[in-house]
């Protein structure tokens, strides 16, 4: 349950970009949340409502785009969806694979007036 501090960081990112663009209101925050992230949508919404009160982001809609856990094998170049957290390359059996997506929690964009 670290969503409170995570939402505080998220608010800092949102407000920084809103102020930079002289926004009077943030109407929507578009987020990317990876399958492997430990962050959960519902507590984020709960804390966002709490923390955004009396700020220009109050009442903003939160939209989550979920990304799948995808890894890439540097040996054979295969990109594959990771099932059951087994990172072994299904093509060549390589184990030195790298995560391409699924680990992120990012503010992709904000919609402002």
């Amino acid at each position: 349950m670290h969503e409170l501090s995570v939402v505080e960081s998220m608010m800092a990112v949102v407000l920084k970009h809103a102020e930079r663009n002289r926004a009077s209101k943030v109407s929507r925050v578009n987020l990317v949340l990876g399958e492997m992230s430990t962050v959960m949508e519902d507590p984020v919404r709960f804390y966002f409502e709490l923390i955004s009160r009396d700020t220009i982001a109050e009442g903003a809609e939160l939209a989550f785009r979920r990304t799948q856990l995808i890894a890439r094998c540097p040996d054979c170049g295969k990109e594959f969806k990771v099932e059951e957290y087994d990172f072994t390359c299904p093509e060549c059996g390589g184990t030195d694979t790298e995560i391409v997506s699924g680990r992120e929690f990012q503010v992709e964009s904000i919609e402002i007036n």
Binding site: V13, S37, T38, Y85, F87, T95, D96, S109
Partner: protein, 220 residues
């Protein structure tokens, strides 16, 4: 109007983690981040590890707990510098708290800082502290099914210590199955099987840590 942001929410923590790392590199100090569930044996393992390392290396400990200073007092009793961070309800340590604690430690001539994270298998995995080595401890009593329940922690750690192996005969813990699952998730992880209570396997771990501390600053 839509404004593109593309900023990671953990970026602010990552920046401070990198500052911590740069500070420690300048001072020539190796930092270990120890993570586990409550009761897996973090403090006992740290005490046992210090016992093996303190003759050769100058060590310090940063203790993270929601409340209390029981752990830092246990460490200080050994004559090792210890700083207690109370997170006040927060379930993990962040780079900024470690940055403040590093500032309060006397790191002149220090070789090793051990950070004991808050007991939790979820959140600490998300927050880099600037450590050289992420160590997670799983105790036998927690069961061999934990990797698929807490995938981030098991795939993020560099070292996995299986503690309380003296209890294996009394449980259904399947060590081979456990290791097989973890290696699929994290092929480069180093696994040590130990019992803090009987001392079995401890020197395999502390020997490896000594090598890492001695070789710090050298890319391995």
């Amino acid at each position: 109007m839509e404004i593109e942001v593309l900023e990671g929410i953990f970026d602010a923590n990552e920046i401070i983690a990198r500052e911590n790392r740069a500070l420690l590199d300048r001072l020539g100090v190796f930092m270990v981040n120890v993570m586990s569930s409550p009761g897996a044996g973090k403090t006992s393992m740290i005490l046992r590890t210090l016992e093996d390392l303190e003759d050769e290396f100058s060590c310090a400990v940063i203790e993270g707990d929601i409340a209390g200073k029981v752990d830092s007092e246990r460490i200080a009793e050994r004559g090792v510098q210890a700083i207690q961070i109370n997170t006040g309800g927060s379930c993990h340590l962040e780079a900024k708290q470690v940055n403040t604690a590093l500032g309060r430690l006397d790191l002149e001539g220090a070789d090793l800082v051990v950070v004991e994270n808050v007991g939790n298998l979820v959140c600490p995995a998300e927050f880099r502290l600037g450590e050289d080595l992420k160590v997670m401890i799983l105790s036998v009593a927690e069961g061999h099914d934990k990797p698929l329940k807490y995938p981030l922690m098991f795939s993020e750690c560099h070292v996995l210590i299986v503690n309380k192996i003296d209890l294996i005969p009394y449980t259904d813990f399947d060590l081979e199955l456990f290791k097989e699952t973890v290696r699929k998730m994290n092929p480069s992880v180093e696994i040590f099987e130990v019992s803090c209570r009987t001392g079995e396997g401890i020197q395999d771990w502390t020997g490896r840590l000594k090598e890492r501390v001695t070789g710090r600053g050298i890319d391995t």
